[in-house]
Subunit: 259 residues, 2 copies
DNA sequence: ATGCAGAGTTCCGACTGTCGGAACCTCCAC
DNA sequence: GTGGAGGTTCCGACAGTCGGAACTCTGCAT
């Protein structure tokens, strides 16, 4: 659909980087070759280049993503916002004892910038850097709720994706939820992204837009304190204040869309 | 010294990515062209590719590093360790109210994986992803202290780099400090990385190696609680326990060197 | 309205880096 | 010893890349 894609070594390089299975340990050249579908000699050449560039690290036992990429990832404006938000997220994490997440909206997806999970947490799908459909997450809903309702039509995918039987895939239902979320200042979600997990989220506002959102996720059968929602709103507005301050001093005009 | 470097589009692509000034807002094509030293048409072509790949994002006002890179950066084994460490780092940050950092050793450099700074902190040099000479930081010292003393010789750069007049650049002095750091379980640093800032660090041990280290940084003229050092050691050993657990279940044999 | 300046985009022929099969090397297990 | 898997090197054909130059567009000063 997108037309003929121009082949490029860059594409292969990124395919290769994405072939690193985050759940695996260090990977060998052959494993990477199979995972990426690229010929061994090509992988060999690419890896050598990537090692030179610090994007990949080599050790006796194999290859792994290099810490050099971490630096690049942190340079995104969203990463800067994350730094400012961290202390507040940490407080919220400590107070609730549950999973706290911070994310931004990209197209119709939520992209997680940070996640603070309890030590014993069942590994949730949301990982730092991962993308989830906005309609299936509390964070996504509160972010969508701050979008211009007219623009929203362009975002919404024709058949909205679902992750569980409880996911909201009906447009009118979603629109209704967004309206109430907007007025309440928080969005909720129950078993819609992952069975057994629920979530509440509040947005970090800036000039009327939502540049990001904070959420607390917890087992659906767990009772959360009544003040949870106001704590979320407080956290989000504290972050907002810091972001505006941080941008004011030292940085030129920022537009919400630039995060 | 490294011999003739093979030109590659990959090199240019990374030069371009590094040309993004982390302290600036979104950058324009022309700015990037000047910053990277690459011709405009080349930058144009490269950016188009990188946008396709999600490494760069485009908006009316310019280009910025994309959140796609965040995902890759988080996939490094070190990033996994960081996830496990976060809650403990957050506790330490809350308890001390000072800057908490988490880093690993790469060659003779310390690479910061995480930094939790107080809201009003004077921006320190250490940023997520940044590299600092090991001999100038408390984290670096405690990590070096856990290296095999024989291997150490290969690491130590002939003229050790200094960052302030207080930096330790004398080999015997450093070796002596490493020895006491090893026996005490913590390393210290005063004005050696940045004037007016001090730091204490403890290592996260694994099979006798140090896979990472935690530090608390504070203004040199600030008195820190007496229990700071034991709190640091506790934090580090909690992280170590989680790391060993995390690796044990689900992941194959890990070697300390693989982080 | 006019002209200038800088940003962004497109074009195209020369060039050169890239491609990947195949042969080769190394280590370990049986 | 032998088989097999992982890793490395080679090289000729090919195709992607290069970047100067020309062009458009927008904003601003005159």
């Amino acid at each position: 659909m997108t037309g003929a894609e121009t082949p490029s070594i860059l594409t292969k390089a990124f395919d290769l980087l994405h072939a690193f299975n985050p759940h695996e340990r260090v990977m060998t050249l052959s494993e990477l070759s199979r995972a990426s579908g690229l010929p061994k000699s090509t992988v060999h050449r690419l890896l050598a280049r990537l090692v030179d560039l610090g994007a990949v690290e080599h050790h006796r036992s194999g290859y792994k993503i290099g810490v050099g990429l971490l630096q690049l990832g942190a340079s995104t404006p969203a990463g800067y916002m994350r730094d400012l938000a961290m202390p507040y997220l940490a407080n919220l994490h400590r107070w609730t004892g549950q999973t706290v997440a911070f994310a931004v909206l990209r197209e119709f997806d939520v992209v997680y910038l940070e996640k603070l999970a309890p030590h014993d947490s069942p590994s949730s799908i949301a990982q730092v850097g991962s993308r989830l459909p906005a309609n299936c997450t509390a964070i996504g809903k509160i972010l969508l709720a701050h979008e211009n309702p007219d623009d929203l039509a362009a975002f919404l995918p024709s058949p909205m994706p679902g992750m569980t039987p409880h996911s909201i895939t009906d447009v009118p239902t979603l629109i209704a939820q967004l309206r109430t979320a907007r007025s309440e200042g928080v969005a909720r979600e129950t078993d819609e992204a992952q069975l057994g997990l629920s979530c509440v989220a509040a947005a970090v506002p800036m000039n009327g837009f939502a540049v990001g959102a904070v959420s607390v996720g917890f087992p659906t059968d767990t009772a959360m304190p009544a003040q949870l929602e106001s704590a979320l709103r407080d956290t989000a507005s504290q972050v907002a204040k810091d972001v505006e301050n941080g941008l004011a001093k030292g940085r030129a005009h920022w537009f919400p869309r630039e995060i």
